[in-house]
């Protein structure tokens, strides 16, 4: 008996004949619902035919192009920042950053307790330490602060709440926020 069982086990497997009992059992087994993890694995590993419509190809190409353009722009910025010291060393005259100019801001505000200057040059930060005006007496407040070369918009902030445009500077009516700012164009001293 044991010899017969051993012989059967050693015998090579033969595929079940179509319509046989084994074939029907295997067919029923394949129809059973699979475990979700097995389904995912099977989906990932089983070769299959994938079709692309022109729309999907277009979207795919557009997204790859977008990815590449934004990446290139960022990479260019990063490269510029990274190579700036080297460029400065190699071409000191052409690449040296131009230093900011010291600009005096003056406001007459006799009743003010605090006056600050805010603008493009300090991120519109009311609490920026370098742009707090000092009372010079007689209601005159002033601060001399560094401002980078270029066109800037700015304003005074009195007592942390009242925004006042510089009466002596060109003004720009801001239709976005409905208030006026002053403008200053800082140029290199010759």
């Amino acid at each position: 008996m044991m010899k017969e069982i051993a012989r059967q086990l050693r015998a090579p497997l033969t595929p079940p004949v179509s319509g046989s009992f084994d074939a029907r059992v295997m067919s029923a087994v394949r129809r059973l619902p699979r475990h979700s993890r097995f389904k995912l694995w099977s989906r990932l590993t089983t070769p299959r035919t994938v079709t692309f419509t022109p729309l999907s190809w277009g979207l795919l190409a557009a997204s790859v192009a977008l990815f590449a353009v934004i990446g290139a722009a960022r990479a260019f910025d990063d490269i510029q920042v990274a190579t700036k010291p080297m460029v400065t060393a190699l071409f000191p005259k052409t690449a040296a950053p131009k230093p900011p100019q010291r600009v005096q801001f003056v406001l007459v505000a006799p009743d003010a307790k605090k006056v600050a200057v805010v603008g493009d040059f300090n991120g519109w930060d009311v609490d920026h330490a370098g742009y707090q005006a000092k009372h010079r007496g007689g209601g005159v407040w002033s601060v001399t602060a560094p401002v980078p070369l270029g066109h800037h918009r700015y304003s005074f902030v009195v007592d942390d709440s009242v925004w006042v445009a510089d009466p002596t500077a060109p003004r720009v009516v801001d239709n976005d926020f409905g208030v006026a700012n002053s403008t200053i164009v800082v140029q290199e001293q010759k």
Partner: protein, 204 residues
């Protein structure tokens, strides 16, 4: 959704996550929805080769003034549109400062055509200060055609930026003392162009 569409959506999401602009000043002062919207506008401007600093400054200004997020986004969006128009009018080699000043001029009602005229008259000379003076004159109620003609005249005569700044201060002083803005501007301009030098100071 086909596989291609899924991959495309995935790549866009990935690009957004990887390349999201991380200006720490913005993230410190804007709420998340406003920050996302402003960042998208800034990224779009960068791709269009527009200066992005003015957009960030506009958002920071709005936050400092306590403006709500929706209006900040609208303001930044409007500024990006104006800068695009300004860049087209001033030619592609316009500096960021010129674009910024031209955007302010557009905001007060100066036309794109007038910007292009100023660029044509000024040639390679920078137009940042003339644009700032033009914007200021219009803000002082000088009619746009008059203000534009004056600034074009200055550009043709090669008036220096320092003289333009003094002209602007003199006109403002005259207006503060009760003068009609148009009369003050045209009178001061006549003197500036005739002498070919700076006008006298207001106190004189």
């Amino acid at each position: 959704m086909t596989l291609g569409v899924r991959v495309a959506v995935g790549l866009v999401c990935l690009a957004r996550a990887v390349f999201a602009q991380g200006d720490s000043r913005l993230s410190a002062r804007l709420d998340k929805p406003t920050l996302d919207a402003v960042t998208a506008i800034v990224d779009s401007a960068r791709i269009s080769k527009l200066p992005t600093a003015p957009l960030i400054d506009k958002a920071l200004e709005g936050a400092a003034r306590g403006v709500d997020g929706q209006n900040i986004v609208m303001a930044v969006h409007q500024l990006s549109i104006r800068m695009g128009s300004a860049k087209r009018a001033l030619a592609s080699n316009a500096t960021p400062d010129e674009i910024k000043a031209a955007a302010s001029a557009l905001d007060v009602g100066v036309s794109v055509r007038d910007l292009a005229r100023l660029r044509a008259v000024a040639g390679k000379q920078p137009v940042t200060v003339p644009l700032a003076v033009l914007t200021d004159l219009v803000g002082q109620k000088v009619p746009i055609p008059t203000a534009t003609d004056l600034v074009l005249q200055f550009a043709r005569s090669g008036v220096k930026d320092s003289d333009l700044a003094l002209f602007q201060r003199n006109v403002r002083s005259d207006v503060d003392q009760g003068a009609d803005p148009t009369v003050a501007a045209t009178t001061r301009a006549r003197g500036l162009v005739a002498r070919g030098g700076p006008p006298p100071k207001p106190s004189e």
